[in-house]
């Protein structure tokens, strides 16, 4: 090969097409397609799990085998499909999450506009919100139970309580996102404060508002389940608590899986809404503008 090149170079005039093309070296691991790499990680995880149980490294009570867990996932799935006792429990949790989220959006958005739009709100209300936000909000759960009872209300309240703050912060930040040019333009057009808010500041702040909503969507799930752990009731969190107390670890795992599907669905709903509403926002970093 090198011999051949050498003779070619000495006899023939230089031909640039014969030059080696410089190719960027991409390591083998980076060339694996996304789906395959995800499957590989999953397989490795299951493998380690299987090994640690079959080698007896971990007690079967603490960690069930992957097979057991898988069977229980199927069992819970069938139970949910057939509308057995787990479905009403799931439905209760779904209601808590949705009511909690709706409440958090309403309160969070209103407070966010108050704090982001008015000087008074920013000066007088924001410090209190920050102070409350730094508290471990889960610690309020017993209070909510004492005030609202063991029903769905106390869980909705805790879920909303946790999810409100990111929405406030997102909304307030969004209202500050408008640049000076846009503000000046609206001023020159003689826009009222309300017009400026509705036609410019709010739409411009939507990306930040949705960031707040996404963080809130995660918080609302945590709030609802924590509420169920601490305040009883008949939701999915109660099923987990009972299963754990009976050392039914496979059941705990499969219930958590279905819960995370619920969380994922809520998050996906928010993301989907964002795509539809904030259609102009580029999700790639290399957007053509800004």
């Amino acid at each position: 090969m090198s011999e051949l090149k050498a003779t070619a170079a000495s006899n023939v005039p230089h031909d640039p097409t014969q030059d080696t093309v410089w190719v960027e070296n991409v390591s083998l691991i980076d060339r694996i397609p996304r789906a395959v790499s995800m499957a590989l990680v999953f397989a490795a995880f299951i493998g380690v799990w299987q090994l640690s149980t079959s080698l007896g490294l971990v007690s079967a009570i603490i960690l069930p085998t992957p097979g057991e867990t898988f069977r229980d996932i199927i069992f819970v799935g069938k139970n949910l499909m057939s509308g057995d006792y787990m479905l009403p429990a799931l439905w209760i949790t779904i209601k808590e999450v949705l009511y909690g989220f709706a409440l958090a959006i309403f309160i969070g958005f209103s407070l966010g506009v108050l704090v982001g739009e008015t000087v008074f709100g920013e000066r007088a209300i924001m410090p209190y919100l920050v102070a409350i936000d730094t508290m471990p909000k889960v610690a309020f759960a017993p209070l909510f139970v004492a005030w609202l009872g063991f029903g769905i209300e106390s869980k909705v309240a805790l879920a909303a309580f946790i999810a409100t703050f990111p929405i406030v912060v997102g909304t307030a930040a969004g209202l500050h996102a408008a640049d000076d040019n846009a503000r000046m333009l609206f001023k020159t057009m003689g826009a009222s404060r309300m017009q400026t808010l509705i036609k410019m500041k709010l739409p411009m702040g939507l990306p930040q508002i949705f960031t707040g909503l996404k963080i809130g969507a995660v918080g609302v799930m945590a709030g609802a389940i924590t509420g169920e752990f601490l305040g009883g009731g008949k939701g999915f969190g109660e099923l987990i608590r009972v299963a754990a107390s009976q050392l039914q670890t496979p059941r705990v795992f499969s219930l958590i899986l279905y819960l995370s599907l619920l969380g994922l669905a809520l998050y996906a709903l928010v993301t989907w809404t964002q795509r539809k509403v904030v259609f102009w926002q580029k999700d790639t970093l290399g957007g053509s503008h800004e």
């Binding site: 040019n181 846009a182 057009m189 102009w280 503008h289």
Partner: protein, 282 residues
């Protein structure tokens, strides 16, 4: 005062004594008049503007040029009705300017088109703000005509992130023109564009202003840009911001980019640069 005084143009123009009297050749009557305008920012006791008097005549193109801190953006904000002057009178079409008005059109360095609105929706935004949705809908007809004027036909229903920088500024020209303002205030409108687009947009601006018989007032950093576009150039000096001289550009119209290489153009640029350097030394 009666603004329409065809012969009294020059006298009305610059009442300020130590500024060279404008020998205004333009035919228009005064539209926009500033007399002895001053601006002091009370908080830090900075005098941003001192005794500025100028008159814009219909169909004329004027520029203001000066180093940064000479008060030209303060001047523009006062003229746009965005901030009140501390002293003096600001009169547009025989009416004192006391706030933003629909007969003032403004254009900024950034096109500032809103990404959730199509081009045409962005253009009718000033109408929507002032007269409501129905009026904005009715104004779309005119928006289409304006898009035609700036050469953006076919981009009516496109969202701004599909427009190039120059195209976006063309659209913002339409947005400025939709209310049929009596005066156009241009705040370094093309300085964010690359040089080639900038030259081209300046020629476009000249054409549009001529076609629309617009009265324009441009703030710029570029001497060449001021010379190629203007009938009159107001040279400002800093600390406190004041008018140093009014330079009349008597190059024939329409101006072309070729004129930049002519000796006359060069002499004019040199002269203004000399004025600015003197201002800097003060």
């Amino acid at each position: 005062m009666n603004g329409v005084a065809p012969n009294g143009v020059a006298q009305e123009g610059v009442a300020h004594s130590d500024v060279a009297q404008t020998t205004v050749a333009s035919s228009g009557h005064p539209v926009y008049e500033l007399s002895h305008v001053g601006k002091t920012y009370a908080r830090n006791k900075v005098q941003a503007l001192d005794d500025v008097s100028l008159t814009l005549h219909t169909g004329s193109f004027s520029s203001v040029i000066g180093s940064s801190g000479c008060g030209k953006s303060t001047l523009l904000k006062i003229m746009a009705g965005l901030i009140p002057p501390s002293s003096g009178r600001v009169v547009l079409q025989n009416d004192a300017v006391t706030g933003p008005r629909r007969d003032i059109g403004m254009m900024f360095q950034q096109a500032t088109l809103f990404p959730w609105r199509t081009t045409v929706e962005n253009i009718v935004l000033p109408i929507e703000i002032r007269d409501g949705r129905a009026a904005a809908e009715a104004a779309k007809e005119r928006a289409h005509q304006l898009l035609d004027v700036v050469g953006l036909t076919g981009f009516e229903n496109v969202y701004p992130n599909e427009l190039s920088g120059g195209m976006a500024q063309r659209a913002s020209i339409c947005r400025m023109l939709i209310t049929q303002p009596a005066v156009l205030l241009l705040d370094e409108p093309f300085s964010a564009l690359d040089e080639l687009s900038r030259d081209m947009m300046n020629m476009e601006l000249q054409r549009i202003c001529t076609e629309q018989k617009a009265t324009a007032f441009l703030v710029t950093h570029s001497i060449a840009e001021a010379v190629i576009l203007s009938d009159h150039i107001y040279v400002m000096k800093p600390r406190p911001g004041r008018l140093a001289e009014i330079v009349t550009v008597d190059l024939p119209r329409p101006r072309t980019l070729d004129m930049i290489t002519t000796p006359k153009f060069g002499a004019m640029v040199d002269y203004i640069r000399g004025l600015l350097d003197k201002g800097e030394a003060l």
